[in-house]
Amino acid sequence: MKRLLFILPVVGFVGLLAVFFLGLGRDPRALPSVFIGKPLPAFATAPLRPGDTGLASTDFQKGEPALLNVFASWCGPCRVEHPVLMRLRQEGVVIHGLDWKEDAPAGLKWLTERGDPYVRAGNDPTGRTGIEFGVAGVPETFVIDKQGRVRYRHVGALTPEDWDQKIGPLMEQLRKES
C-alpha cells in the first residue's frame, strides 16, 4: 500500500506528459469570435481614401464571400502579411480593409507606399467600430460569407500557410454555398 504512494508521482507525470504532447499541436492564439455564424453588426465608417465611400456592413452582402482585414500602419505584423494580401487581391479575392486606431492620412500613406489590396477601405480612428466586432489587436482577419455572416476569425498576421490550409479552402467552400 505504501509502495503505491511512491509510484503515484510517476503515474501522474506520465498523464501530464500526454497532455503536454497532445497540447503541442494546438494554436493557443486561435480565438473564436462571438460573432461566428452571426451577421456582422451594422456599422458604417468614414472613407480611408479621399473621395471614396468608406466601408459599411452592407458592403458584405454582395453575393460573394469576402475578407475583412483590420490593419494599421503602426503595426509590425501588418507589414508581414501585407504581401500576402497583395497576392490574394491579384488572385481576385475580395478583401475589405479597416484602418484601425489611426487617422486616415497615416493609413492612406501606408497604402500609397506599399500598395492597396482593398476593394473598400474604411477608417476607424477611435477603434469604436473594431470593438463592435471584437477586435483585440491588429492585424485580424474575418471571413465573411455571402449573407454577410462572420464565419472565421484569424488573429495575427496572415501567412501563406494560413491561406493555403485554412482560409483559402474555407473561402472556396463559401463560394459554393448558395
Binding site: 505504501k2 509502495r3 511512491f6 509510484i7 508521482p9 510517476v10 507525470f13 506520465v14 506528459l17 497532455v19 503536454f20 504532447f21 497532445l22 497540447g23 503541442l24 499541436g25 494546438r26 493557443p28 492564439r29 480565438l31 473564436p32 503602426w74 509590425g76 507589414r79 486606431k101 477611435t126
Partner: protein, 655 residues
C-alpha cells in the same frame, strides 16, 4: 571566425558532457577512481568551453557582427552597447546558451568544491548533471544553433524588441536562470541518492546550501521581473498571473518548500524521501517552465518565437529526466530509511505544514496555468484563467500559511506545547491584535480584509524580529556578545520572514487603496488626483539614441512637496514598435504613476494611478533574497564544511 570558434567550443562541450554523463556513473558503479576523476575534469573543461562559446556570441553582439544570423536578428548599431551585450540572451537561442552556461558553472562548482563529499556520491551527482548538460547542449546545437551564419551579411540588423531594452533585461533572465538551473544541483543530488539507495549527513549538509544558492537569485529575479513589468509595460500592475510569470512562481513555491524540508533533513534527519521528491519536482517545474515558454503551448507576453519542434525536444528532455527520476523514486525511495520521529506540534511539524501549504499553492498555480490546455482537449472550449481564479484559490491558501510563518521558528524541535509556544509569542500577538482592532472600525466589508492584511503584515514583521528580541533579551547581561554571536542563519531567517511581512503590507496597501483616473489633457491643464495636483506643462517630440518619443512633462504638487514627472511614448523605427515609459514618483507611502496614451483633438490621454505602499512589495521580495544570502553566508552552511564521519541524526539543542 569567432562564430565558428563558438560553434566548435559548443560541440566540444557536448562531447565532454557525454563523457561526463557516462564515465563517473560507471566509475562509481565499479569503484574506479580514475573514471570518477575523468568526470570531474570533464565538468570543469565543459564549463571552460561553454564560457568560450558564450564569450564568442557576446563579442559578436557587441561588435555588431551581422554575418551571424542571430546577431542580425536582435541587434542594431544604434542600440546602446549595454543592450547589445544583453541582447546575447534576449533571443531563444542566446538564452538557451545562457542556460547551459549556468548549468556548466554549477557543474564545475560541484566538481571543484565537492572534495569533501564521498567520492562515489560526487561522481554520481556529476554523472546526472552530465546527462542534463548533454541533453540541453544537443537541444542547442540541433534545434537552436546560435552561431548560424547569414550570407550575404546585412548592413544593418533588426533591433532587439524595445521592451527588452531596459536595465531589467540585463539582470532579470540571468537571475531567473541561476535559480531554475541551480535547482538542477539538488535534483542531481536527489537522483544520486536514489541510485546509491542511501542518504547520509554529508548529503543533507550539501543539498541545503545549493538549494539556497538557487533560491536567492530566483527570488531576486522574480522580484526584479515584477518591478520591470510595473514600470516598463505601462499597465500599472505588479503581477499579472501570466503563464510565464507562473512558470517562475511554481519552482519558487516548491523550492521554498524544499528549502524548509532540507533544513529538517539537515538538522533532524527527518522527511528524507519527501525532500528527495521535492528536489525532483522543483527542478522538473523549472523544465516545465522552459517548455512552456518555448513550445507555444500557451500564449503569453513573454513567449519566445513559437516552434513546436523545439517543444517536442524539450518535452523529450522532460520525459527522460523527470520520468526516469520519478520511476527511480518509485523503485528506490521506499527502501530509504525514514528519519527521526517527531510530534505534530514541533518545529518539524511546522515545516511539514509549511510544505503542505506550499505544495497546495503550487498545485493551484499549476492548474490555473494549464487548465486552458486540458479543458480545450476535453471539450474544445477556450477558456482563459485570470486573477479572479487566483483570488479564490491562491489567497485562501496563502493567508493561513503567512499566519503560520511566525510560529515555526518559535517551536522547539521534536516536541513542544501549544500553551508555551503562545506565551513565547505573546508580544507579537498583542501588537498584531492592536493593529487589527485599530484598523477594523474603518470601512465596511473591504475594511475587514484591509485590517486583516495589516494585522497579518504586522504579525509577520514583529513576530520575526521578535526571534532576535527574545534571544537578545535572554542574553541581555552580555548584550554586545549575544548580538555578535547570533548565527547568521537566524538573522537570515528573520530578514526573509520579515520581508514576507513587508510584501504582505505592500499587497494589502495596493489592493485596498489603489485608485486610478483616465482623462484627456492639453498642455496647461491641471487635474486634482489622490491629494495631488498635476499640471501638464509640456508635450513635445524628443529624440533618443534609437527612438523618437512624444514626451509629456507634468508638474506635481502634493503633500510631500512639488516635483516633475515625465512619461514617454517611444517609437523605435528600426524595430517598428512602440513602448510606453511611465512617469513614476516612488515613495514609501505610495507611488504616483502617470502614463500617456493616444492623442486626439481633446488632447493626449493620460492615465493616473495612485499605488499606496506598493514599493514594499519589491522591498519585501529583495529582503527575502537578502535574508537567504545572509543565511547562506553562515559558517555552518558553508559548502564543503561537511564532515564525512558525522552521524546523520545528531542532537541539536533547542533554541
Amino acid at each position: 571566425m569567432l562564430a565558428e570558434v563558438g560553434q566548435f567550443a559548443l560541440i566540444l562541450a557536448l562531447l565532454l558532457a557525454l563523457v561526463q554523463s557516462a564515465a563517473p556513473l560507471w566509475g562509481a558503479h565499479r569503484g574506479d577512481g580514475v573514471l570518477m576523476a575523468v568526470g570531474r575534469q570533464a565538468a570543469l573543461l565543459q564549463a571552460v568551453f561553454i564560457v568560450l562559446a558564450f564569450g564568442a556570441l557576446a563579442w559578436s553582439y557587441v561588435t555588431c557582427d551581422f554575418s551571424v544570423q542571430l546577431v542580425a536578428e536582435h541587434s542594431h548599431t544604434s542600440q546602446p552597447v549595454a543592450y547589445r551585450f544583453a541582447a546575447t540572451w534576449g533571443s531563444h537561442e542566446g538564452s538557451m546558451l545562457l542556460w547551459v552556461l549556468i548549468l556548466a558553472i554549477y557543474g564545475a562548482g560541484v566538481a571543484f568544491f565537492g572534495g569533501t563529499l564521498r567520492e562515489t556520491l560526487q561522481a554520481r551527482v556529476l554523472g546526472v548533471q552530465g546527462v542534463i548538460g548533454a541533453a540541453f547542449l544537443g537541444f542547442l546545437l540541433f534545434t537552436s544553433n546560435p552561431f548560424l551564419r547569414l550570407s550575404p551579411a546585412p548592413v544593418e540588423g533588426t533591433e532587439l524588441n524595445p521592451l527588452l531594452q531596459d536595465p531589467g533585461l540585463v539582470f532579470h533572465p540571468p537571475l531567473l536562470y541561476l535559480g531554475y538551473v541551480g535547482f538542477s544541483v539538488a535534483f542531481c543530488f536527489a537522483v544520486a541518492a536514489l541510485i546509491e539507495g542511501r542518504v547520509d549527513a554529508a548529503w543533507a549538509r550539501w543539498v541545503r546550501p545549493w538549494v539556497l544558492a538557487a533560491w536567492i537569485p530566483l527570488t531576486a529575479g522574480i522580484t526584479l521581473g515584477s518591478a520591470w513589468a510595473y514600470y516598463e509595460l505601462g499597465w500599472g500592475g505588479w503581477w499579472f498571473w501570466d503563464p510565464v510569470e507562473n512558470a517562475s512562481l511554481m519552482p519558487w513555491l516548491l523550492g521554498t518548500a524544499l528549502l524548509h524540508s532540507a533544513l529538517v533533513l539537515e538538522r533532524r534527519g527527518a522527511l528524507v524521501s519527501w525532500t528527495i521528491l521535492l528536489a525532483i519536482l522543483t527542478f522538473s517545474l523549472s523544465l516545465v517552465g522552459t517548455f512552456l515558454v518555448r513550445s507555444g503551448i500557451l500564449t503569453s507576453v513573454h513567449a519566445f518565437a513559437v516552434d513546436p519542434k523545439r517543444g517536442v525536444y524539450i518535452l523529450g528532455i522532460l520525459a527522460v529526466t523527470t520520468g526516469l527520476s520519478l520511476a527511480l523514486y518509485a523503485w528506490r525511495a521506499p527502501a530509504i530509511r525514514t528519519g527521526a520521529l517527531f510530534q505534530p506540534l514541533s518545529r518539524e511539524g511546522g515545516v511539514t505544514l509549511n510544505n503542505l501549504f506550499l505544495t497546495a499553492l503550487t498545485a493551484t498555480v499549476f492548474l490555473g496555468t494549464f487548465s486552458p490546455v486540458i479543458i480545450e482537449m476535453v471539450n474544445n472550449d477556450k477558456i482563459s484563467v485570470g486573477p479572479p481564479y487566483y483570488a479564490k484559490t491562491f489567497a485562501p491558501l496563502a493567508i493561513p500559511l503567512l499566519a503560520l510563518v511566525v510560529f515555526g521558528p518559535m517551536l522547539n524541535w521534536k516536541k513542544d506545547e501549544a500553551r508555551k509556544a503562545l506565551v513565547r509569542l505573546r508580544i507579537p500577538l498583542i501588537v498584531a491584535g492592536v493593529v487589527l482592532a485599530a484598523a477594523l472600525p474603518f470601512g465596511g466589508l473591504k475594511g475587514i480584509a484591509t485590517a486583516g492584511g495589516l494585522a497579518l503584515a504586522t504579525w509577520l514583521i514583529v513576530g520575526s524580529v521578535w526571534i532576535l528580541g527574545r534571544r537578545w533579551w535572554s542574553g541581555r547581561a552580555y548584550l554586545g556578545r549575544s548580538i555578535l554571536t547570533t548565527p547568521r542563519s537566524i538573522v537570515g531567517l528573520v530578514v526573509a520572514h520579515a520581508g514576507l511581512g513587508l510584501l504582505t503590507l505592500g499587497i494589502t496597501g495596493v489592493t485596498s487603496w489603489e485608485s486610478d483616473k483616465v482623462l484627456n489633457m492639453k498642455v496647461g491643464e491641471s487635474v486634482a488626483f489622490a491629494g495631488r495636483t498635476l499640471t501638464l506643462t509640456d508635450y513635445a517630440l524628443t529624440e533618443g539614441p534609437n527612438y523618437q518619443a512624444k514626451t509629456a512633462r507634468f508638474a506635481v504638487k502634493g503633500p510631500t512637496g512639488a516635483y516633475d514627472l515625465r512619461s514617454e511614448k517611444r517609437w523605435f523605427p528600426s524595430a517598428q514598435s512602440q513602448t510606453t515609459e511611465a512617469g513614476i514618483r516612488v515613495g514609501p507611502l505610495g507611488n504616483l504613476y502617470v502614463s500617456i496614451g493616444e492623442e486626439s483633438d481633446a488632447g493626449v490621454i493620460v492615465r493616473l494611478w495612485n499605488h499606496p505602499l506598493i514599493v514594499w512589495i519589491w522591498i519585501g521580495g529583495f529582503a527575502m533574497a537578502a535574508g537567504g544570502a545572509v543565511s547562506l553566508s553562515d559558517r555552518r552552511l558553508r559548502v564543503g564544511a561537511a564532515v564525512k564521519t558525522q552521524p546523520l541524526v545528531q542532537p541539536v539543542p533547542a533554541e
